[in-house]
Every structure is written in C-alpha cells, then in structure tokens.
C-alpha cells in the first residue's frame, strides 16, 4: 500500500515535470490542425486529410508514454474542434484519434515494428474510427463504399507522417529527450 502510494506520487511528480513539454506539444498540434484547416486537400472526399497533427502525437507517444499521448490528443481534439470545427467534427476526430492511439501504442509495445509501420497502422485506424462514427451519425451503412479509399489514404498519410516523425526524433536535442524520458522513469 505504502509502496503504491509512493509510486503514484513520484509518477505524478514526473508528470508535472513533463507538463511544459506536453503543453508545447499541444500548441504544436493545434498549429498543425490550423494549418490543415487552411489547406484542405482538393480530393473532395470527406475525412481525407494529411493528418499533420499526428506527427506531434507520434513523437509524444515515442518520447513519453501512452498517457502523454492521450492527454495531448484529447486536449487537441477538443480545442481544435472548438476553434475550427463543430460538435460533430469533435465526435469524428475523437473516435479516430483514440482508436489510432490504441492501435499505435499496442503495436509499439510489441517492440517488433518500426515507427513507420506503427504510424501507418495508426493512420488507417484513425480513418476507420472516424468513418465508423460518421456511418453511425448519418445512419447509412452504404457509405461503406468509402472505407477502402479511407483505408488506403490512411496508410499512405501514416507512412508519410511516420517518415517525418522519424526525422524529428532523430534530430531533437538530446536535452529535451532526456527530460521527457527521465521524468517518465522517475
């Protein structure tokens, strides 16, 4: 019992140390959302986006842990929804973001796959999650027709996001990385 308490206390301390960096990540993620809202892809299929924000989420997931990812992701979805979207877009984004986080964390934990694969699966999961909620909202399962397009698009953007995230992780200053990873182990 006592051990549990000290453990949770110290991990809370670690979390407090990480808060500024998570805040920075959130700000970055919001900027990415904003940039993306400015330049919609001229494909004409709802739900297909570059997913720039996922770069930040993937980086946070790899530097910190899944809790950091969830914090940044939930805050990002809510804030971006209030700023640039509406209640429905929050609903879609939240479903996509959460499913994507679950899938990415699951695959990352296996330790068998490269970040690019993890990110690609995350991209697919993001689109599929969003799609399923959209299908429920519109109450028309015939839009199933879009699923393959969204699936492949998610994979493509996921690979691109993975490449970028990889480079970011390689070039981030060691100092920043150790703040995040050390406070995690504290």
């Amino acid at each position: 019992m006592k051990r549990n308490m000290t453990q949770s206390a110290s991990s809370a301390g670690g979390f407090v140390k990480r808060v500024p960096y998570l805040g920075m990540a959130l700000a970055l993620a919001l900027i990415c959302s904003y940039v993306e809202a400015l330049i919609p892809l001229p494909i004409g299929i709802p739900g297909i986006k570059l997913g720039l924000t996922n770069i930040v989420i993937v980086v946070v997931l790899y530097l910190g842990d899944v809790r950091d990812g969830v914090c940044v992701s939930v805050a990002r979805v809510l804030l971006a929804g209030f700023f640039f979207g509406n209640l429905y877009s929050i609903l879609y984004s939240m479903a996509g973001a959460m499913l994507s986080l679950i899938v990415m964390e699951g695959l990352r934990r296996t330790g068998q796959l490269h970040l690019i694969s993890v990110s690609a699966a995350g991209g697919v999961a993001h689109n599929v999650g969003q799609f399923l909620v959209a299908a429920l909202v519109v109450e028309n399962y015939r839009i199933l027709y879009y699923l393959p397009v969204l699936f492949l698009a998610g994979m493509l953007t996921g690979v691109l996001i993975g490449l970028v995230a990889c480079e970011i992780l390689r070039h981030l200053p060691q100092q920043l990385i150790s703040v995040l990873t050390d406070s995690k182990r504290e």
Binding site: P40, P42, I43, G44, I45, P46, Y62, L63, Y88, G111, Q112, L113, H114, L115, I116, S117, A120, A121, V124, A134, V137, V138, E139, N140, Y141, R142, I143, L144, Y145, Y146, L147, P148, V149, F151, L152, M155, V159, C166, L169, R170, L172, I177
Partner: protein
C-alpha cells in the same frame, strides 16, 4: 534518439496492411453494378427516389429552404449545388454504380445509387 531499424517485419506488415486495403477495394468494386435509380435521404429519412434513366435536376428542400441540388445526367448523379459550408459534396464527383454515395455531412444528406432489387448488404457487411 535511437529507433528500431526498419526490418523485414515492417515490409511484411506494411504489405499486409496494403493487401487488406486492396482486398477491401476489390471486394467493394467487383460486387457493384450499374444502378437504376438514386435515393436521397436526409438524416436517415427518405426524401425521394429518382430514376437515373432520365436527365433531371432535383432541388432538395429542408424547412422550406433549398439546401442541395442533385443533377442526373447520362445515367450518373452528381451534386450540382449545396449550401453547406465546406461544399465537399459537390467535389465527390458523379456516381452511377450500385452502393455508390454522395454524402453531405453538414446536412446529413446522402444520395445513394440503388439497383432494381434491393439487397440488404448491411447486416452482412457489418
């Protein structure tokens, strides 16, 4: 930061994922046929059905104001006008094959191509 190197597992994983996508695509395209008519629904409720054989312009009204215009031409249907903020439905192109849809999410409007016999794919595909 050191990352796991890219290995054959990743190639296997990514090609597997890609194959899943291709199978999904092939499955949905192969089983589609040219449709006979379009059905327009708003928020799940049917608004009307229109034959694809005759060229026509269908204004869709909701609460007394026109929200979308569907145009049927040469056996295909497309969204000609829409008052939704993003206008994505107008960029979804023309549809003619069974099960194809144009979705206008802001208006919860779905234009869907149907065949002669109504098949319930829904329970199967879920």
């Amino acid at each position: 930061m050191r990352l796991r190197p890219f290995s054959w597992k990743d190639i296997l994983f990514l090609s597997g994922l890609f194959l899943c996508g291709l199978i999904l695509t092939a499955g949905l395209y192969l089983f589609s046929k040219n449709g006979q008519y379009v059905r327009i629904t708003i928020d799940g409720a049917e608004y009307g059905t229109y034959s694809l054989d005759e060229d026509q312009r269908i204004p869709v009204e909701q609460d007394g104001s026109m929200i979308n215009v569907v145009r049927i031409e040469d056996g295909t249907a497309r969204m000609e006008q829409a008052t939704c903020p993003d206008g994505l439905c107008m960029r979804q192109g023309a549809i003619s094959r069974e099960q194809q849809t144009i979705v206008c999410l802001p208006h919860k409007l779905v234009v869907e191509v149907c065949g002669t016999h109504e098949k319930e794919y829904d329970t199967v595909s879920q």
